[in-house]
Amino acid sequence: MGGLEKKKYQRGSATNYITRNKARKKLQLSLPDFRRLCILKGIYPHEPRHKKKVNKGSTAARTFYLLKDIKFLLHEPIVNKFREYKIFVRKLRKAYGKSEWGTAERLKDNKPTYKLDHIVKERYPTFVDALRDLDDALSMCFLFSTFPRTGKCHVQTIQLCRRLAVEFLNYVIASRSLRKVFLSIKGIYYQAEVLGQPITWITPYAFAHDHPTDVDYRVMATFTEFYTTLLGFVNFRLYHSLNLHYPPKIDGQAEVEVKPAEGKEYAMDSESYLEKHKKLFEGLRFFLNREVPREPLAFVIRCFGGQVSWDKSLCIGATYDVSDPSITHQIVDRPRVEQQVVGRYYLQPQWVFDSVNAKLCLPVADYFPGVLLPPHLSPFVTEQEGDYIPPEKLKLLAMQRGEDPGEETEEEEEEEEEEEEDDNDKDEEEEEEDESEKEEEIKLKKMEEQKAQSNKALPVKVTAGKVRLEDKQRLEQEQQSEEKRLAIMMMKKREKYLYKKIMFGKKRKIREANKLAAKRKAHDTALKEEKKKTKKARRA
């Protein structure tokens, strides 16, 4: 036994982590400042693998940061700016207190400011990294751009957010990179593919926000501060990739209609179907009625090459009038349209979104004004095998394959039924184990009963035996399942746990799918019955 005594918690994971308070003390920052720094620098707590070891034997709930992260923060120039700002505020308060207006003015002029450029570069060393993390930035900017210009946060921030968001939308239009749109109850989801990276963002519906009181706007503002910087640089780079000038000259009001000239050198995708998708609305002329949400619709239509206009009194940027005979589609969201013009389709806005998601112009009949709309499906769901697929999706898939939807419907239904049957089969298989056991028991019982009866009834009767057809397949299956069961019995405890967990998850999935299917079936039958009734009523 030689050497020094090894002290506990002085090596290994205990030295790699630091608690939040210690980190704060090390950086000599107040908690809000520390938080702001963490937000800007993208430092987040880590969950250590062995929490008790890191926590020096205690099990108290603490947040841990990597010590390396905190050391990295020590050299951040922004930390100094934070301190300067603190002093600036103190001085300013003093000047106001003494009514030294001149001093206050001078101090205000020399207000310490900081830039986040280097942080953006540091957090996203490559452009693709930045694109990957753009989702939250875009969603936040779109949210802030809808905030009222009073209260809550600085007007400049809101204006900047609006500008950046609109610039990004313009890029998406110019590059035709929008892929999916989804009208959810929360807002409108968009997904664009920029340089091979899917970027998803959500915009709220254009209503005034009911500003909640339990939300810390300072935190959101700090995030927005960083996100605007990031989005600015990303926009710059994106515009330059299209050979466009940045910043574009955009009027605050008519943002969408100022469309930058498309870059000729934009690398075209070779995939023809993608090309086709991009030119979905090419040559179509849309007119938006007053009641439809103008901005998202105009954006989506333009993304796919369509031309769009609206009422002149609604907003500037209207290029043609309602009476224009070349209009092919008029988007309407009212139960009835009086004075219909011949030569154009009157459609509900969902048609545009559904068509974009389906990658083809859907038949218009389902989307006429006042018609009960078909369900709007999420384009983000890709069903795996065994998942429940709503029948509308099946129809859509068939349409995409190029089959005629009209003939398809019945077949589809049949298919559905088959599928349902399949599902049922699966269930049966699951339950088979128990069932087979039960069956055996029942058989045995019967045999016993028979025997008992034969014992009782002394006059022995010989009844003609029935030839039992042995289903070889079934037998084999039974045998296999039994073997499996026996093998499962021999599993180790840990593996058994894991196995059971996996199987539980699978079963739950199947159960949920079955539940949805059953619900749908019930709904459909109810509908059919109602239809029949109405028919009868009509006849009568």
């Binding site: 947040t63 450029d117 570069k121 490559t126 989801y189 519906y205 709007h376 999420s378 028991e441 299917a517």
Partner: protein, 739 residues
Amino acid sequence: MEQPLELESDDDLTDSEESVYSGLEDSGSDSTNSSAAEEEEEEEDEGEQEEPSNGAAPKVKGAPRKSKALGADPPLKDSEGLSVPDEYEEDSSDEEDIRNTVGNIPMEWYQDFPHIGYDLEGKRIYKPIRNKDELDKFLEKMENPDYWRTVQDKMTGADIKLTDEQVDLVHRLQKGQFGDVHFNPYEPAIDFFTHEVMIHPVTNRPADKRSFIPSLIEKEKVSKLVHAIKMGWIKPRKPKEDTPTYYDLWAHEDPNSILGRHKMHVPAPKMKLPGHEESYNPPPEYLLSEEEKLAWEQQEPAERRLNFVPQQYRCLRAVPGYPRFIHERFERCLDLYLCPRQRKMRVNVDPEDLIPKLPKPRDLQPFPTTQALVYRGHSSLVRCLSVSPSGQWLASGSDDGTVRFWEVCTARCMKTLPVGGVVKSIAWNPNPTICLVAVCVEQSVLLVNPCLGDKLLYGATDQVLESYVPPEEERVQPVQWVTATSEEHSRGIRLTVQHSKALKQVTWHGKGDYFATVVADNSNMQVLIHQTSKRWSQNPFRKSKGLVQCVLFHPIRPYFFVATQRYVRVYNLLKQELTKKLMANCKWVSSMAIHPAGTDGGAGTVPKVMCGVHPVMDVPFPPPGDNVICGSYDSKLAWFDLDLSTRPYQLLRHHRKALRSVAFHKHYPLFASGSDDGTVIVCHGMVYNDLLQNPLLVPVKVLKGHTLTMDLGVLDVVFHPTQPWVFSSGADGTVRLYT
């Protein structure tokens, strides 16, 4: 209310007067102080007619006293304008009114006294006598023309009639006018410091020279500034640009510049993409039914699978704004900077891979697979079973107080032996030359000759038993050996070994002479070993080591296995010592069985030295008794390999309920376990003679058939001695044979 108000206003009046003159009349001497006080005293003496304001009025030296008493009023004083009043006269609040020395106190305090205070000499000042009642007051009010101008002096309690001047004064003050009638507030202003420049200087001093020549210091300062401007050191203040400038940040993407930190970076997971249920117009199956909605509302917000209720709107126009939009964004922000992150490896395992690859049961045949026969007859649960060494007969003991003997092949009950008590345990003598069954009934062991099979055989058994010669000297025995009466003899009972307590188990030694019994007791007399031929019993243990569950003899060697609740102890009977102690790793051992080796049960074919390394290559089959299985009430089956360790080689948790019995097959590598869940699980348990190879345990069949009664399923399991058949007795009163 009116009166005090008026009085106060009077006071104010005097104050204002004083302030008016205070600036100008400030040349008086302080020496007048004392005389003024004296004067006042005199005034007091003069009568109560004097106004209170008089005390505060500026005093004029040498002014006629009478005139004052008649109502010294401001105009009067005004006329004597330049006379000097003593401004310190009323400096102290104590001297405000020296007629009454009580000071500035609420006069209500004197309400109940006849006096109202004290004068300077300490004499009481009595209240004026007032004996007017309400009627008098009213009459006075009606009759007295001066009633309206009569006020009461609070300090003295006397009534004062205001003079006309005083009434005027009050009226003026009420109108907000100056108290002095002659005071003109709008007098023309006198310009003391005239704005007109005077033509002559104030002083006669000639102007300095420095007023003619330019200042050098200023010149220097200016030139410095000029120089600084020229050099560009001083610039006009530029308006700050707050619009951020952007440039190509990633112009020089250098893969080497990526910090090492980025390798440790755990990117935040993206937000979950919305599914069909989030649509504003989802397919109808995604909408929640009423119950689901209710369940959703009752769930904790953190537990909900969806953080919203799916809704359907007929058209886009009807969709409202989402009220929690800002919340969700904010929560995402919180997640991004507050949520601890950890890289987690998702187990991406095919569940099929987790199932161990075992030899197929088909390849491990023979083993019992189907139920062949049911032995019916017992009316209560069948606790114990035993098969004759030949395999032709089966004995079963039941709670209905009978022992039944069955022919195995036909399921025919050959014999029923009522024993008059619950049969706890039954054991057929393993010696094929002896036809004897030991039956545990309550406190005694019955040795029964079932008289089945070969007549020669059971006749010989009787002869052997009868040939017993009692020893000369009677030895003290823990039990009593009683020969059966003739009536009992006719039923088959030959001997009765009577214990003092209820019995639990009986088991034979392999050679069929000795048998051991377990008593349900906690003393050292729990286990007894009996010798049939000598009718002699002995107690092998001096001390009790816990509640003994069951005991077993080693098939060939002089070892004795004793299972207590948690341990199995192995004793060497020859050396009389503890050889091994096996930890069962379970809570309560219920049963135990010893691996009988693959050879025929022939005793002593394989010699083995316990402590030495036994010759591996010479032994065709593994030595018997090296493997023990223990069933326990916590539904575990422990397989011990005695050579390996004292801990179980494997714990099998096949059953769902408590195990009641376990059994090894004599020849085939099979063992079975019966449990309260009504199943018998037959396992293949191959033991290799190669020490390096561990036993192979494979469950091969789950046998069902017994119905659960009183939460009990299978109570005993026994293998057929030669065939791969297994018998099981159940709580439903049947015995079943699986082949």
